[in-house]
């Protein structure tokens, strides 16, 4: 069993992830993920979103590594119309907790608020994230990331075209 990360190590990593996203360095963000990684956002109405299975219920986002890279690459293009002109985003990551070991790594629970401004409209996405971070060849990587929104719909935000 690999040794668990400390909270400080986890925080440093999550802040680094947030920084890459806010600076729109999305291909570098995709490189944080392992080959067997998943990045998921449950639908706001999903029952038991922590344990829900994207093979059985409709998620907003359920990406394996090919689509994680595809999402990052797409958002770099002018032809990704939904994010052109690009949004400004600010990821706030708080309440970071190391909650145990899982899948050869450390399971981290954190709260987030992401502010997104597209042209003159600002919306907020808030909720919590479960990460599983693993060490590969000396580097920390994301094996799992599941974001759960504290929303009942996207009626106020419209759409989710940034990465949480």
């Amino acid at each position: 069993m690999a040794e668990l990360l400390s909270r400080t190590e986890a925080e440093d990593f999550l802040y680094r992830e947030a920084e890459l996203l806010d600076e729109w360095r999305l291909p570098e963000w995709a490189e944080l993920y392992t080959e067997d990684a998943t990045y998921e956002v449950t639908s706001p109405t999903t029952a038991d979103p922590v344990n829900a299975d994207p093979d059985r219920t409709l998620f907003l986002i359920s990406d394996r590594i090919d689509r994680i890279r595809g999402r990052a690459n797409r958002l770099m293009k002018k032809s990704a119309h939904a994010e052109y002109p690009r949004s400004k985003t600010r990821h706030l990551v708080t309440n970071v907790r190391v909650i145990g070991g899982a899948e050869g790594g450390t399971r981290i629970r954190s709260n987030f608020a992401v502010f997104r401004t597209k042209e003159d409209t600002t919306s907020v996405f808030m909720g919590e994230v479960y990460h599983i971070l693993v060490r590969e060849a000396g580097e920390l990587r994301i094996r799992r990331k599941r974001a759960i929104l504290d929303l009942n719909s996207l009626y106020n935000q419209g759409r989710l075209t940034i990465i949480l």
Binding site: S43, T45, R56, S79, Y155
Partner: protein, 442 residues
Amino acid sequence: MALEDPQWALVQADPEKRSFRVHRSAYKSQEIFEREKALIFGKCWLYLGHGSELNKKGDFVTRRVGGRDIIFIRDKSGEIGAFFNTCTHRGAKVCRERNGNARNFSCPYHGWVFSSEGKLVTTNANGGYGEDLNADGHLDLRRVPRLENYRNFYFINYNPNAISLHDYLAGARDAIDAVCDQAETEQVILSGEHSYSIRANYKLLVENSYDGYHLVSVHASYFDHLRDQFAGTPAASMIDDTIASYNTRGAARGLGMGHAVLDSYVPTGRPVAQWLPSMGAHLKAPIEARRAQLIARYGEERADYIADTQKNLVIFPNLVINDIMSITVRYIEPEAPDFIKVTAWAMGPAEESEELRAMRLDQFVSFLGPAGFGSPDDIEMLEICQDAAQHTPVEWSELSKGMDWTDDPRTLSSAPDNELQMQAYWTQWDRVIRGIEKLERE
């Protein structure tokens, strides 16, 4: 106001010039929106929900349809009903949940209780009412005037004298059949939903939902992603081959009554029976087996149509059933001339295996929904159309592509990247909004 009032001549067809255009006030005017609420949403059949959402007695969902809040419920005898979600006493909503299971509804304000059949069971009053207070049932939950279904798709109509749903759906029944017949048992709404919003008129999303012309320009980045996924597989050249031949196969077909379907061929893979290497080798045999079953049930021609053709169906005025890389049932609720709420569900055969179900949901989120690689780019287009319609003086939108008819486009066909389907929609819209098409029983 007089129906012939020229201010309502918002849709202009000029066969000589092969011109079909729509006045942009139809997308932005509050006055026209109010008229639509009365004449379109007050008289057309509107999608309420699918029977598979109410599996058990007492299951209910609450939904806003055409601006009215509805409880859609399977009552304790198993019958499906639709009620307005308001207490007949002083008006409070009797149900505040989005879905659930209930034996009855208890109004939180004064405690009136209604059964799942809508009957007023008790007023919880200690005197003060006459014995015959509800003898005529007028204090029961108010039923929606009409509720009918076609193959488990439930629609409501606020006009008691409306024509039947069967007649209203016209040629769209066959298009619904092509979706339903994929299942050996029945098609069901799958777990989960996407609820999102768009700052645009509802008709802009309708137009976009079966628009073949926008595919290459709006979805270039999605096709880039598919090319990356197919690189090095036998499907590598499929994207460009299919895009090059897009206009030579399929059709946009008017189905009568303003409904239309776009039949087209795009190599996104289809859970019903079109396997692609990107889905994984393990799915090749099960998908081919499904095609064999379709051929056995319906013969080769119909099976090929069901399996291979992408179908973007719009049922007038605001229901979209897109049977493309996955099936989505998409309901559009207009909240204002420039704001809509959208609820979209995934649909699949009840008997589907776990691995095919997983692939179907994966295909869905790859493109569809507010976080997919496709729909958000469409949404951006609708929002910039709306913004420009409201903030520029240009009066007309041009929907002339493929305009080669002289009389009535509503049951005609045209090439997949023409705009015949929109001409059919707007012709119906024009006739309903002017009161020419009454949609009522004789």
